[in-house]
């Protein structure tokens, strides 16, 4: 294929480069001469090209030879001076000079790190690997970005921005169930929402075994902010992000006002596995006390008395079945490792004179 491309480049058809070079240099074998002559019969421009190249080579051969004007003998002082100016990279190179295979080590590390980044990214996109969120705001993942980009919604890290951004305020409502460490995300979202024409509702739900916090951000003008009450538990269930599509907030203003009042009284929000949410009444609050465990998720039912809740469905972005890893930290670390290893390998090659 490459040969064909080269032949096309110089306007020849199926002509061996070896034969052409040998012909131009006057070293062609009888077979090569025969091959070239056959082609020249078919293509008169080829004959001109080859004889021009022959003359050009003859001309280049007439160029004066160059002789060095001085001696380049090496003295111990020169070598000592060169070693004194040696860079750190050159010293590292010397370590690898005795064993050539060792010089490949950075390249191998770079390849492995690159493959690692690729696998993590693929796993993230396909949902096999989940971002484990141990610190506030570290639930960033490629999947979340893709999800947000596709839906125009925001992820948990974008709560504050979404709440304070009027452009996002009327696009959708997000409900986010995070683990313990992510309570700060909801907490930061709430004040931001308060300053914007929107309300952030983030009631705390506790249980004996599993504890999650629900931060429900509902963008709505003139709504009252009810922030999270914080909270802590021993268990740390994997984070779940649920997203609700846009709702007609103007028609549900009264209902939302009542929700805010209910939550002010400490009423929890109930959720369903299918993704509906609604504030519960005071009796349910007594029963569940805002507890939302993994098992409880399946028993939560939508409430008909809140019309907006019927339209509010949630899609889990990540699954509990995935492998939980500090994903973006790993990706960033491996990418940095790959870049530095490949750079080191290239530097080694250059300083070794390869």
């Amino acid at each position: 294929m490459v040969r064909n491309f080269l032949n096309r480049l110089v306007g020849r058809k199926d002509l061996s480069i070896d034969a052409v070079n040998a012909f131009v240099e006057g070293k062609a074998s009888p077979d090569e001469i025969q091959l070239v002559e056959n082609l020249m019969r078919d293509n008169t421009s080829l004959e001109r090209d080859l004889y021009t190249q022959k003359a050009l080579r003859s001309l280049l051969g007439r160029i004066e030879k160059i002789e060095s004007s001085r001696s380049f003998s090496v003295t111990p002082e020169m070598v000592a001076a060169a070693e004194a100016h040696d860079s750190l990279l050159s010293r590292v190179t010397e370590l690898f000079a005795t064993q050539r295979r060792l010089a490949l080590a950075p390249a191998v590390i770079g390849v492995i790190a690159t493959v690692g980044v690729a696998l993590l990214t693929i796993g993230d996109v396909t949902g096999i690997v989940d971002q484990s969120s141990s610190i506030p705001g570290d639930s960033f993942s490629t999947a979340a970005i893709l999800e947000s980009a596709a839906d125009g919604s925001v992820s948990s890290t974008g709560l504050a921005g979404a709440a304070s951004n009027p452009a996002n305020a009327d696009s959708s409502a997000d409900m986010i169930i995070t683990e313990k460490g992510s309570s700060a995300a909801a907490a930061t979202a709430a004040p931001a929402a308060n300053s914007a024409p929107a309300a952030a509702l983030a009631p705390k739900l506790n249980s004996d075994n599993d504890s999650v916090e629900v931060a429900s951000v509902i963008e709505f003008p003139n709504a009252e902010l009810v922030g999270p009450s914080g909270g802590s538990d021993e268990s740390e269930p994997p984070s779940i992000m649920m997203k609700a599509p846009a709702i007609d907030l103007s028609s549900d203003a009264d209902d939302l006002g009542s929700i805010a009042g209910s939550l002010d009284d400490g009423s929890p929000i109930q959720q369903t596995q299918s993704g509906s949410t609604t504030p519960s009444d005071s009796s349910e609050a007594d029963t569940d006390s805002g507890i939302l465990s993994g098992d409880d998720m399946s028993s939560i039912a939508p409430k008909d008395e809140l019309p907006y809740a019927q339209n509010t469905t949630f899609e889990p972005v990540s699954s509990n079945n995935g492998i939980s890893l500090p994903l973006w930290q790993l990706q960033a670390s491996l990418a940095a490792l790959a870049i530095s290893a490949i750079g080191a390998w290239a530097g080694l090659r250059r300083s070794r004179g390869e």
């Binding site: 001085r70 001696s71 380049f72 060169a82």
Partner: protein
């Protein structure tokens, strides 16, 4: 016998013998300097690069694996030349060095004819101009084989590529040179203009 001596001198150099290495330097300094000068076209820079090449070769003699020694030296020289050209390319974006006196090729001619001398000087400038238009890889292949007369295997060792790659590069370099020199046909020898007239 020369090959045996060379290997012995290399072995002595590995033991730290400067005299043995300097005998190798005397043997190959013209070859290294010529290639470097034709690559960088700056005589003082070529001298520095050539000196650095031999210093570097002495220090790295332990990594020499027994191939053609001259090719190994030329590989070091070629990499140093390319480093220099890259540095110059970066620097020329911000400053212009007017002090540099560029090397000029000369074309041999025994005719003793002043008119022929002038024509050859023009021809040499045309060749330089066309070689400047080649990529570094193509130029190196052409310098090594068509000007310095090295064999394909030694050139391949110098560039650390296969012989086939050298042939391909040389083929493309010749085709581009041919196209370039044809732009100034009046300077070309009769042997090259003959085919133009026919067409």
């Amino acid at each position: 016998m020369a090959s045996f001596d060379e290997q012995r001198l290399i072995q002595l150099t590995r033991d730290g013998d400067y005299d043995a290495f300097n005998r190798l330097v005397v043997e190959y300094q013209d070859a290294v300097f010529a290639v470097v000068l034709r690559m960088v076209r700056n005589r003082s820079a070529a001298e520095d690069i050539t000196q650095d090449t031999f210093i570097s070769a002495f220090r790295k003699i332990s990594s020499y694996r027994g191939a053609i020694f001259r090719a190994w030296l030329l590989r070091i020289a070629k990499n140093a030349s390319l480093d220099y050209l890259r540095k110059i390319a970066r620097r020329s974006e911000t400053s212009i060095d007017e002090d540099i006196v560029y090397f000029s090729e000369t074309v041999k001619d025994e005719s003793q004819d002043p008119e022929a001398d002038a024509l050859n000087a023009e021809l040499a400038r045309l060749i330089e101009h066309c070689m400047d238009g080649l990529s570094d890889d193509h130029r190196f292949a052409m310098v090594m084989i068509d000007i310095e007369g090295y064999q394909y295997d030694e050139t391949a060792d110098s560039i650390d590529v296969s012989i086939g790659t050298v042939k391909s590069r040389l083929n493309r370099a010749r085709a581009r040179m041919r196209d370039c020199v044809q732009q100034d046909r009046e300077l070309l020898p009769d042997s090259m203009r003959l085919y133009d007239k026919e067409n």
